[in-house]
Structures are given as C-alpha cells and as structure tokens.
C-alpha cells in the first residue's frame, strides 16, 4: 500500500513545514477477541494558521487518531506505530515526562460535552489556573488566577472576575464550552484539537462557538484540527477535509473540493444525509444503509463495500477483494480518494446530485 502524503503540495524537506505531521499512523488496541485496529495507515498534516476537518461516523477512528497525537492512549492497552511530529518533535514513543510538557502546552484539546469534561467539584478558575501553573512553574497563584480571568474574558464570558469562582454546573451549555476553550488556549498552544466542540449545543450557540474558534485561531495563529460528523461545521471552519471510514482516510482535499466534487461513495453518503436549509422540498435525505463495520473483523477489500450502492459499477469483484489505494482524484491537485470506481465524477453528477439537490443539479447542467 502506498501512502501519498496529503501535504504533497509543501515540500517535505522544509523544516518550517506543517506544524503537525502524521505519517502512516496505526493505532491498535489488543482485546480479548483479538487486536482492534482503530486507525490504519493514516497520514495528514496541518500548517500553522490552517484548519483541518476530520469527518466520519462514530467509530471511524477520528477521535482515536487525535488522542494519539495528544499521547492520551494508555501505553499498556494500545499500540501506536507510524510517526507523529509536533513542531518537529517526534511524539510516538516519546518519554511520558517529555510528552507531558507538550500536552496542554504546545498542543491542547477541547472536548465535546463540557459538562462531563470539566471537573464537577473544582471551580472553573482553579481548573484553568491549574492548566496554566502546570506549564508555568514559576507563576504564583495570583498570576494563575489573573490569567484565568483574562482567558475567560477573552472567550467572551461576561463578568469573568466573578464567574471565575463558579463551578461548571453553574454555566449554560455555551458558556461552559467557552470555559473549555479558554482552558485549551490558556497556554497559547500552536496546535488545537477540537473534538466535536459543538455537538451538545443549540444551533445558535454552535454558530457563536465556531465564530469564537475562528477568531481565536486568527489571533493565536495556531494549527487547528476540528473533528466532527457535521459537514456544516466543516464548511464553516475547515480549509481541508479528511474523510475517515473504518480507521482509514477514504478521501482528502480542500473543503471546497470535497463538498462540491466528492469522488468516494461514502462522502456522497455523508452529503446526502444532511438536511439543507432552504433546499427544495423535493430534495431527499438519503441515509447510508447499514452500520459502521466491526473493526475486529473488517470487511475484505474496500471496507465500505458492504454499504456501498455503487459497487456494481466496478468491474469484476475488486471491491470485495482488494483495498483501493489512496490515489489522486480526477485531475485535481491535492484531492485524494480511496475508491475503485472508474468514473466517480460522472456518477456524482448524473446520479447522486439530482437525488440530493435537484435544483443544484439543474444549475450545473
């Protein structure tokens, strides 16, 4: 299997290249029933100031791969191979003591469901100050508190000097997610991983949080990975998109490419399953049939074949027997797909698009 690095546009010899470079990452969890490969041969990179969106269903490996970047997998119950370089430092196999210095400092992660992700018993100010103090050993308690208030203010929490002494359960959902973001950014990380940051929020609050993240990214010039299953979030936030299925990258490209000219049936499925505001009522929502595959016994060949409605268009039984390589899509630089279909562009235009967005298909025609 050959892996074409998605970052082939920037020269690999460049030291000032992408801040985060993941190459051939494989994460395996040994279980009683056998090894589970949650991430297989994943490669991607993110530059400072850029946002990569990782999309996929639950269990597709998007969170597992990011947790690997943060070094949050228990070394005893997981095996990680491949390479993850953060700001030039190889973190796969890095000693825990050195890893800890990066974690929460050079790279930070914000989680979904801030109510569960913040400690219920400690004041949010203390939790923020703790994150600051960990990486600023010389800072006094008052410095930590001042910094916590400053960050709460920065993420748009009113009366931060009073709210700093509140507990997580005293905040509203949106405010709580802001606290989470403040905690992630308190040490000015160069890499921020946002794991479904808006999943548990109201739509209006979602938009505010996404706006805030964008503002902060511009201000801090950090590399951002946003993990989501919501293509709306991707359209709003990401410069590039990586679609994951069963632990593998199945499609990669710029956001515009992926949203307008996807070439992998799974990406089509994702696009077909989102309702669009203002779309014609004739448009249909077409769910992807079936369930994500078991990672314990992955399907042979292309892991999407059991759910793929286009597999008959591939000559022979390639889909059942051979894993498609990640290859450049129809003549477009940087767009990669993992699919055997010989003419995906045509199928999308003539079969998929008329189904999901008849008016749009009309326009193109």
């Amino acid at each position: 299997m050959t892996i074409t690095s998605p970052s082939s546009t920037s020269s690999p010899s460049d030291v000032d290249g992408p801040y985060l470079q993941v190459e051939d990452l494989t994460v395996t969890f040994p279980t009683q029933d056998g090894p589970v490969q949650a991430v297989k041969g994943l490669s991607y990179s993110v530059e400072l100031g850029k946002t990569l969106g990782i999309v996929g269903e639950s269990g597709s490996g998007k969170s597992v791969s990011s947790m690997a970047v943060m070094g949050l997998h228990d070394a005893k119950s997981s095996e990680i191979s491949g390479s993850i370089r953060v700001g030039g430092t190889e973190v796969v196999g890095l000693a825990e003591s050195r890893m800890r210095k990066l974690r929460g400092n050079a790279m930070a992660m914000i989680f979904q469901d801030a109510l569960a992700a913040l400690h219920p018993f400690y004041r949010v100010g203390d939790q923020l100050a703790e994150a600051y103090a960990m990486h600023h050993p010389k800072a006094s308690k008052r410095d930590g508190r001042r910094k916590a208030i400053e960050m709460l203010d920065r993420v748009g929490i009113p009366q931060p000097d009073r709210r700093v002494d509140d507990f997580a359960h005293q905040f509203s959902g949106g405010m709580r997610q802001r606290v989470m973001i403040a905690m992630g950014l308190i040490n000015d990380p160069s890499l921020l991983i946002a794991d479904e940051p808006t999943t548990a929020l109201d739509v209006t609050v979602q938009a505010q949080i996404l706006d805030l993240l964008q503002d902060l990214q511009r201000e801090f010039n950090s590399a951002v990975i946003i993990i989501t299953h919501d293509l709306g979030v991707i359209a709003e936030m990401a410069d590039e998109v990586l679609v994951m299925y069963a632990g593998r990258c199945v499609e990669f490209g710029t956001t515009k490419e992926i949203l307008t000219r996807p070439e992998m049936p799974y990406s089509w499925g994702l696009l077909s399953s989102i309702p669009e505001v203002g779309a014609s009522t004739d448009a249909r929502l077409i769910p992807i049939p079936g369930n994500p595959p078991s990672l314990l016994k992955p399907p042979s060949g292309c892991s999407f074949h059991p759910r793929c409605s286009h597999r008959d268009k591939v000559p022979g039984d390639l889909c059942f027997t051979e894993l498609p390589a990640l290859t450049p899509a129809s003549n477009r630089a940087g767009h990669l797909k993992r699919c055997h279909l010989p003419n995906p562009e045509e199928i999308y235009r003539t079969e998929v698009l008329p189904e999901i967005a008849p008016d749009l298909a009309e326009e193109i025609r």
Binding site: A116, H119, P120, F121, F167, H169
Partner: protein
C-alpha cells in the same frame, strides 16, 4: 447548612421517639416476663408467685402500656423514682433510661462507662481499614486488568467471604493462644487515661481483626468507584492539561471516587459505634456490644431498649455527618 443540620436533628428526634416507642411495645407485648428476671436475681428470697406479683406491680406491668411509656419518657426528660421489690427505691436523674434488672445500676451510667471501650474499638478499626482499604483500592484501580489487580481482588474476595466472627475468632486463637505473641497477649479494654500503652496493646488485636477484615470490603468499594471515575471525561481533560499521573489520580479522581465510599462508611461506622458485638465478645472488651448481648440473653429490658435507642441515635447522627461531608466534597449538592 446550619438550618439544614438543625432540621435533620429535629427529624432525628422524631425518629428516636418512634423507635423508643416500638422497642417499648415490643417488650410490653413480647413473649417474656421481665419481672421474672428481677425476681430470679433477687438473692435474698426465693422467687415465689406472690413475690413475682409484687415485682410486676412495682414495675408497672399491671398498668396500661401508655401510662408506663409516659413514665419512661418523663424519666428520660426529667428523671424519676424507680422501685424494685417492696423496699428498695432508686432515684434516677434525667436522662433516666431505667435501672438494669440484673445489676440494679442506672442504665445511663453503665452505658457511659462502656462507651469509651466501644468507641476505641470502632474508631481504631475504622481508621485502619480506611487507611489500608482506600489506598489499596486506588492502587488496584490504577493497575486494573493486570495480574496484581486480579490477585488482589480475588484474594480479598476470599477473605471477605469468611464470616467475620470466624475470622476474628481464628485471629484470636492463633495470635493470642497458639503463638502467644506478647503484643496480643492481653486483649481487653483498659482506660486510655490510666495507661495508654496498656490501652493500645489491649485494643491492638481487635483493631487488626476489624481493620484487616474491613479493608477487604473498602478495597473493593474504592477500587470499583475509582475505576469508574478514571473513565470519566474530566479525567481525560486533566490528563490533556499535562498534569502528572499522581495529580490526576489523587487530586482529580480520588475526590469523586470517595463520595460513594463515604456513603457506605457513614452507615457502617454508625453500626460499629453502636456496638461491635463479635469483636467485643471475642476479644473480651467490655463495651456496648457485649453489654447488649448479655442484656438480651438475660431479658434485661431497660438495657436492651437503651442500646437500641443508642444505636438509632448514632446512626442518625452519622447520616447527618455524611450529608454534610457530601456537600463539602460535591459543590452540586446544596443542603436545604
């Protein structure tokens, strides 16, 4: 919080009142003849039916129960006079829980005398099993799934499936009788105010038995609770901040993991304070537990009802204390 505690104490008083009444009624209508106990214990004369009738009359067993219960409650609040037989009259100051039929001593005084022994056993034992059980449980949780964890959990399960009285009895038989270990040779209660060293060595074996047995249970409680908490999202957040493992475990996880452990401990410690019957009997400690056992055997009514009331009071108080500790640990709990 103060208002809450007062409210709980007041409702505790109501509970105590109801318990005292039900204990009183149990004996009033129960299949026993309390007068017989006094009559038999009266060494000066043989117990004839005529004398038994005198005792019955004096004890008020010929009056309706509510009249006698009223007298009992008046005694608790204001003190009263008690008459045994035809001649002896006792003055029983408040809080009067009656006179023991067996020893003819005021029950409240006897209870006060026995409390230090029971409290010594309970506090020492509980201290041991908490300081052993919780750290072992936490350590096992951190190593969950490993051989150490499995060995620990299964061996502790074996220990805790032995009945406690057998465990304590074997401890005493081996350490004190067979091997004659000097430190354990003289079990019993000696007042700490008179000879602290003797108090310590007298209690030591009882503590060990209680501590070793109890710690198996608390290891399992705290391990289970800790395993659960370590899977919480906020623990992952704490790790993602770059905190040290020990900080994550002892600062972030332990505080949450202790909450369910404290609930169980509150109830169990109350029971311990109310009298450790097996421990006191086996290690020959003259505390509330041993006393209540003897009282039941001899149908010593006032003592039995006093120990029942005492147990209820201790349980009520320890429950209130647990609730207060809750609200300190978990800011989401507001006492009102």
């Amino acid at each position: 919080m103060f208002a809450y505690v007062v409210k709980r104490l007041l409702s505790g008083v109501v509970v105590l009142f109801l318990i005292s009444m039900s204990v009183f009624l149990l004996f009033w209508y129960g299949p026993s003849e309390p007068a017989q106990t006094i009559c038999d214990n009266d060494t000066s004369n043989r117990c004839t039916p005529a004398r038994l009738e005198v005792f019955r009359e004096n004890l008020g067993f010929n009056n309706p129960w509510y009249e006698e219960y009223g007298k009992f409650m008046k005694g608790v609040v204001a003190g009263r006079e008690i008459q045994f037989g035809s001649t002896t009259k006792f003055d029983c100051p408040a809080p009067c829980l009656g006179y023991s039929y067996r020893t003819k001593a005021p029950v409240f005084e006897e209870m006060k005398q026995r409390m230090p022994a029971t409290f010594s056993v309970a506090i020492g034992g509980a201290f041991l099993y908490l300081t052993l059980g919780i750290p072992i449980g936490v350590a096992a949780a951190r190593r969950r799934g490993t051989l150490t964890d499995k060995a620990l959990v299964s061996s502790f399960l074996v220990i805790s499936s032995i009945p406690y009285y057998l465990f304590a009895l074997l401890t005493w038989l081996f350490l004190t009788i067979s091997w004659e270990i000097p430190l354990f040779s003289d079990t019993g209660y000696f007042p700490i105010t008179e000879n602290p060293a003797k108090w310590f060595s007298g209690m030591f074996l009882a503590w060990m038995a209680l501590g070793a047995f109890g710690c198996t249970t608390y290891t399992r409680y705290s391990r289970g609770s800790m395993v659960e908490v370590l899977n919480e999202d906020y623990i992952r957040t704490a790790k993602a901040k770059g905190l040290r493992d020990n900080t994550v475990v002892y600062k972030h996880a332990l505080r949450s993991a202790l909450v369910p452990v404290i609930t169980i401990f509150g109830i169990e410690f109350g029971t311990l304070l109310a009298g450790t019957i097996f421990t006191e009997t086996i290690f020959d400690i003259d505390g509330i537990g041993l006393w209540s056992l003897q009282a039941v055997a001899q149908r010593d009514l006032p003592v039995v009802s006093a120990t029942a009331l005492f147990a209820a009071a201790v349980l009520i108080i320890s429950n209130i204390v647990v609730d207060v500790i809750y609200s300190v640990l978990d800011p989401r709990v507001r006492l009102s």
